[in-house]
Symmetry: C2
Subunit: 343 residues, 2 copies
């Protein structure tokens, strides 16, 4: 039995789509147990629409909701009865293996660190979304809120990302690359130049060198290592350029009668192709390196992404990712800087 | 008369398209004088195909070519008779007002700084390409090779970019924003946090605050300020995601007979829409803050982009951009750090 707590109140389509996603996951996998966290009355009302194995679903009431616009540190500290804080505490107390939320990114990141807590030896827990490419998906690590990373952080990101891609997504010997502005080893900013030789020296990862941003959508690497500021820019620009271009293609097709007829004919084929350029079928973005698992799904997640995120947590637990992360940190412990381990 | 030196040897389609672009510009604008720099025999051969005002075209022979893969600093130092070094020297000696090249980006950036030289007071010359948006174009400043910028550099970029967008592209009171990972003032890395209040205090620019990468393709600001590492990532990802998506749309349309027929019908309308998402009609990327002007066009530039880049240089000169840049630096001279001015 794997117990997944789900934030029923977070996201644009909460609670309806969160509850539906949870029910779908329960019906899909027998070993899943779901704990819906949030306003009990609202959750019960949503549940009346579905048939599901009631013995594997529980509700934990939480009276408050953290809004996206609230300053995260403050929200986590003050809203003790919010769905995010209550859900994270379930993971902390090991009453749940994982927590899935489509709520405030900031609150999920802060809560993961201060409530769930880091695995001993993990200097900084990265947020690692999957991004679509021509060839499938790549893991972009880190897109979190902690910027100005140090080289040792990036090395840990590379290790954790590699383990995740190999054992959760199923890519053998994932190619790891560091985001850079040229392919040559001597290129880059101070952080990249310092990190490059450290990654090169890691025998436990398949480091292929630098990757230019242009190569990311072509699937140039499986694990894309970057500090969070650059990672965030990549993630958001990816979504922005994608949405803009698709919008322009649609608009372009509506400009004449001729093109409108053409649009009707190409639509089904195009829809199928565009589906390939969508990473939500794999689930949400894991916050790695925690004592447990926290998964952040898109704010606009619907039931399908929520369900996939729950199933992703199951694979994460079954594949013992956290045990593998702990092991990967062992041989290098002595080299690491202890500074950030104490809170 | 405005004299533009053109690198006849740089770029994927040199010398043919470079020469054609130069001829087109001569035929379009009477006040243009072009100096083609490169192998005289090859240039003469290309010129036999065209009719043009011969009195406004000269050739300056340069026997060498700097290749894209050559380490730039070394190439600039050693290849004294390369088209890039010879062309830059024409600007330095004020025998040309500007130099346009589709050759090695690195060599153009290094040559601009060490041969042409900075305007007194400019700490770092930024490379500022125009990127297409839903609404037109935005200036992305800096995408150069000098990473790890300081706040005072970014403030100068904002000023120079603002002047360029207003007087060369013709956007009144251009909106200036700094690339950040959230809209709030307290967000960002150390560089952004330090730069934000400095930009806010500039009375000569229309600073609108932070811009998230997602908003860039929507045209969220006219001048997008960023240090070069992030700027480079944005520029290359923009091109990469764009190319990948358009490739996937084309491929998707070819999957069935039905969609192929549809594709024929939508093609003309789509082509028209996609043309709007192409910044090459505005010319190349200026390297700002130099004693003269250097414009880097895409490596795969064809005659049209070369011609537009030459016309862009004319506007630059006519609008006295460098004089405006000099003026903009005056009131803040005393606050600036002099360190980097001496070479």
């Amino acid at each position: 039995m794997i117990k997944i707590a789900v934030d029923a109140m977070g996201g644009d389509y909460a609670p309806a789509q969160m509850v539906k996603g949870a029910v779908d996951a329960l019906n899909k996998k027998e070993q899943v147990r779901v704990i819906l966290v949030g306003r009990e009355d609202k959750i019960r009302q949503e549940l009346t629409s579905y048939t599901y194995p009631a013995d594997r679903l529980t509700i934990v009431h939480a009276s408050e909701v953290i809004k996206t616009e609230e300053p995260p540190v403050n929200a986590i500290r003050k809203k003790k009865d919010s769905s995010i804080v209550v859900g994270m505490n379930l993971v902390k107390r090991q009453e749940a293996d994982a927590f899935v939320s489509a709520g405030s990114s900031g609150a999920v990141l802060v809560g993961g660190q201060v409530i769930v807590g880091r695995i001993k030896g993990v200097e900084r827990p990265p947020l690692a979304p999957l991004i679509p490419t021509e060839k499938g998906v790549s893991l972009l690590i880190d897109c979190g809120a902690n910027v100005d990373a140090r080289p040792s952080h990036l090395v840990q990101f590379a290790r954790m990302g590699s383990i995740y891609m190999e054992h959760v997504i199923g890519i053998k010997h994932p190619r790891v690359a560091i985001v850079n502005i040229g392919a040559e080893e001597e290129k880059g900013n101070a952080l990249v130049k310092e990190t490059f030789p450290l990654l090169k020296a890691c025998e436990d990862i398949n480091f292929i060198g630098s990757i230019e941003a242009r190569e990311i959508p072509h699937g140039g690497a499986d694990v894309i290592v970057s500090e969070a500021f650059v990672g965030n820019v990549i993630l958001k620009l990816y979504e922005g350029v994608g949405a803009t271009l698709i919008g322009m293609v649609k608009q372009g097709m509506m400009t004449s009668l001729r093109s409108k007829i053409g649009a009707l004919l190409v639509k089904p084929a195009l829809k199928e192709t565009m589906k390939a350029f969508d990473a939500s079928q794999y689930g949400g973005a894991p916050l790695l390196g925690l004592k447990g698992l926290v998964v952040k799904t898109h704010g606009n997640s619907k039931a399908n992404e929520v369900c996939n995120s729950i199933l992703q947590c199951v694979t994460f637990k079954e594949q013992q990712i956290n045990e593998k992360i702990k092991e990967s940190l062992l041989p290098n412990k002595e080299q690491e800087n202890n500074e950030e381990r104490e809170e």
